[in-house]
Amino acid sequence: MSIKHIAGALSLSLALGLAACGGDDSSSSDAGDNQSKPTSGSSATKTDGPVKIAFSAPGADHGWMAAITENARDEAEKLGDVELQAAEGVTDSAAQADQVETLLAGKPDALVILPNEPDALMPVAQKAMAAGIPVIDIDREFTEQGAFRSLITGDNYGIGYQAGNYFADQLKCSGNVVEIQGIAGIPVTEQRSQGFSDALKRKCQDGVKIVASQPADFVPDKGLSVMENILQAQKDIDAVYTHDDDMAEGVVSAIQNAGREDEMFLTGAGGSKAAMDQIKKGGLYRATFLYNPSMSASAIRMARKIVRGEGFEDLTEPEVPQKITVPATTVTKENVDDVQELGF
């Protein structure tokens, strides 16, 4: 599937590149029905023919990131009039920039991108915008407004804040909490951590103590080892706040292996199916906070509307909004059935 897409993108860009060499970049045998589309001017709208959307996201080696790409693909298929060129599999920013350049050579109507690092991908996004290709930025925000037409993002600080409130309520403002963080030093981790401690401080002052706080890089085996060590050091733990559902699986195993699952509860973040199943069952895994990969599906819809020159029906404005933040819903046993279909 992905090989086919990449090969398609490559052959298309090659064909266009050859055409450009011939001095006529508006005609191409492969581009077919795109010939009538305007090639510049961001306000240009396209009312007929399929909408050609280029999509780029970092390597799908993590449950959440895999869901991002999959949701974008599914949504494009569902919409019918969208032609998606998805490229994935890169793990560093320079490679992603190259990949986006290749996609842009195919002259898409819009670019939907989840930048590996916003700062490193900003130049290529600006280039797309300058060429009249609207950029829809997912999850990680470009700092320059001019680098994107629309942004859709989750609420990392909100995850931490909601988790903090949840812990304050559950623990009645007294107890020992362990925090298992994601990758140290990236905004996602810092915001999920800051929101958590802010909410705890605000509600409980110093009633709830964060007795240990260690990164485990969003992977289950590191979560396991880190938690095993923390269990050695901390003989009295009331709850564990983890930054990610995949990683939390390892933390859960560590607690179960030590036979201490009755002593504490645990929460995740993201909203994986596995996490939701465990929340439903009850026990150690008590809640997760949505950071929903459905946002990539929404981004495809936004891109289509922007290209078509439409707005959202329920908003009075005739255009797609510039920024959309998906709320970090708290998922517990009570509401898990309502959100389960969003699980990944």
Binding site: A60, G185, P215, V219, D221, A233, S253
Partner: protein
């Protein structure tokens, strides 16, 4: 030592480098480092560090990278490197996970088969395809990870009901974690293999002076072939141990294990250019890293301080060894 020995042994019977002199000193130096960490830890974290429970925990944690490092010692002894062990761990775990419905034995066999196949591909490419180890295993590094993600459809398989596999993660024999027993048994076996058999001497000779080894009658390509098969099997064993602890077979585990394994081998005193290898040193190197990780987490130090501290300890451990020479 072995380089010159091997060269002068040309034409006669095969040079037989034995663990003596410098290597033993290095091993003792690392014993000192381990002892120092134990003492410092006992002072800084008196309640939790030097307890039998925590020491067994350290041994269990060390077992996964430990098994990989033992295999890596053989590769490094020949002057090679294997960058793919972490990815192979994930791939072997997933391969076993595909058979999880048929029970624990099927899981174990599936993982071992995958380790054998992947190791065999590395081995063939390097020994007979003449691809340099760095490149061949770098290719496997990405292929095995991709295969793991593909086979698993990017989702972990729960092994919660497979008591047999979970025993490797949680089980105990007379109070000692089963994973640690596997690690210790493999270490002992590897020590005998490297130090007391003709095969072990051939491995070291291949790394010391390939040409001399060839002239002395060693079938060098087959020796090279064998060591990459060994790391493949070790990756599968490590996959069984870590999956047992996690109670799941996940395609995203094993990240950067290769670096941990290589680092343990090197601070243990084996030479990266080959020709000199020590299993005891590798064992102590693994224990050193596990103790550092354990102690720094117990102290709940900020991650940046942990990283700096870990780097300083590695540097100090190697410098101490140099002084002893």
């Amino acid at each position: 030592m072995s380089t010159t020995d091997a060269a002068s042994g040309e034409g006669r019977s095969l040079p037989l480098p034995k663990p003596k002199g410098r290597i033993q000193l290095q091993e003792y130096a690392l014993v000192g480092v381990v002892a120092l960490i134990l003492i410092v830890g006992a002072i800084l974290e008196p309640d939790s560090f030097l307890t039998s429970d925590n020491m067994l925990n350290v041994l269990r944690q060390a077992s996964v990278v430990g098994v990989l490092a033992i295999g890596m010692t053989f590769v490094i002894a020949t002057g090679g490197i294997d960058l793919s062990v972490g990815s192979m761990v994930a791939c072997a775990a997933v391969a076993g996970g595909q058979l999880a419905e048929s029970g624990s034995m099927a899981f174990v066999l599936g993982a071992l088969a995958m380790g054998l196949v992947l190791g065999g591909i590395n081995a063939s490419a390097i020994a007979f395809g003449r691809v340099v180890p760095f490149i061949a295993t770098l290719a496997m590094f990405t292929m095995a990870r991709g295969l793991a993600l593909w086979l698993s459809d990017k989702t972990p398989v729960s092994l919660f009901s497979l008591d047999g596999v979970r025993w490797f993660g949680n089980g105990e024999v007379i109070g000692i974690p089963s994973a640690a027993i596997v690690f210790l048994a493999i270490t002992a076996f590897a020590w005998v293999l490297l130090n007391r058999t003709r095969y072990g001497r051939y491995v070291v000779a291949t790394g010391g002076n390939r040409e001399a080894a060839r002239i002395a009658g060693v079938k060098v390509p087959w020796i090279v072939f064998s060591v990459y098969v060994i790391t493949g099997i070790c990756a599968a064993i490590a996959a069984i141990l870590v999956s047992g602890r996690l109670a799941s077979a996940s395609p995203i585990i094993g990240n950067l294990y290769e670096l941990d394994a290589i680092a343990a081998v090197v601070i243990g005193g084996s030479a990266l250019q080959g020709g000199r290898a020590t299993i005891v040193g590798t064992f102590l190197g693994v224990i050193t890293f596990a103790l550092i990780f354990n102690l720094l987490t117990l102290m709940d130090l900020a991650v940046e301080i942990q990283q700096i501290t870990k780097g300083l300890i590695i540097l100090a451990a190697v410098l101490v060894q140099r002084k002893e020479r």
